[in-house]
């Protein structure tokens, strides 16, 4: 249990990268990039976790209750929303690639010249 979340992180990273490398469809490749990025959320939250502590919101509990690290949660929070917009930009590029080259297969796109 001491290293299991970090092993899961490298597994998700490996699986996502495998999907990117062996993909035959641009939209499938973009979704595998989303999976790779989700591994960083798991890593951030696993680093900041304190065993036995509660969430860092002191609305109804006393201020000195032991709580988990809020800084990594702030990082992961903005990361999740910004990633969706950047994915939308990637999808717009995929649409443009389809319009220009007529194919969405990344292994065929490489061999086209302009």
């Amino acid at each position: 249990m001491a290293v299991f979340p970090f092993v899961v992180v490298v597994w998700i990273l490996g699986v996502g990268l495998y999907g990117v490398v062996t993909s035959r469809h641009l939209v499938h490749q973009i979704v595998c990039l989303i999976v790779v990025q989700s591994s960083t959320y798991v890593l951030l939250l696993a680093v900041g976790y304190v065993t036995g502590a509660v969430a860092p919101y002191f609305f109804d509990i006393k201020v000195h209750t032991p709580a988990v690290d809020p800084v990594v949660q702030a990082l992961a929070l903005t990361d999740v929303v910004v990633e969706a917009a950047v994915t939308a930009l990637l999808l717009a590029f995929a649409i443009q690639a389809y319009k220009r080259f007529g194919t969405l297969d990344p292994q065929e796109l490489v061999s086209l010249k302009g």
């Binding site: 290293v3 970090f6 490298v10 900041g48 609305f59 929070l77 917009a85 717009a92 649409i95």
Partner: protein, 254 residues
Amino acid sequence: MTAVQRRWLFLAGMAILAGFYLWGLTELPGFGNYPGPYGFVINRIAVAQTNATGVVSAVNFEYRGFDTVGEEFILFIAAIGVATVLRQLRNERTHESAGHEGLGAGSAETTDAVRLATLVFVGPAVLVGWFLGSHAQTSPSGGFQGGVVLATAFVLIYLAGEFLVFRRFSPIDLVDSVGAVGAGGFAAVGITAVALGLPYLTNFLGLGTVPGAVSSSGTIALISFFVGIEVAAAFVLIVGELLEQTLLVQRGGR
């Protein structure tokens, strides 16, 4: 290089990466043994310093506000990028084919059940989005989540089959300007602090008396509001551009 060779090359590289990563794991303090001082320090002093009981939002908009400005501008620029790429595509197509049908000709007919189910949830979605955007300092909420939920309310209108109503509720110029107001508002709050002689993004408004009330914590609530409307405008812009792409029916297309 064939596909099979590429696959084996990737697996070899991934094995090396995983080996180094797992070797580095042996030096970590282990899951749950968080050693660093910053988490404990912030948890102890944040409520007293900012009168905000939601410490994660206080970190986002106050202690690390400068990073959040950067992230929000990434979001803004990504939305503008989507709009630029897709609008250029649309203008090219309008020049190509002379006689194309207008918007709404391709909108699907939805059943009454779908229409009822989606329209019932539009009001609560707007309410929940507004609640999340305005309560960043009290409980688990904030501008980012509230903005996405608010954008979902507009998408529900489209799902009920009324693309033209969706477009009337969110005309492109209005959505563009609301997004700009949101992004610029955040930067303007920081610059107002500079105009008052304080460092950029200092919390210059009054902190309120009760920690965790909606009116407390000064600029955190204001920044969260600006971030909420900016995120909502960005997502409505993105979805609107993609929808206009799908609903233009071309008669002599490429």
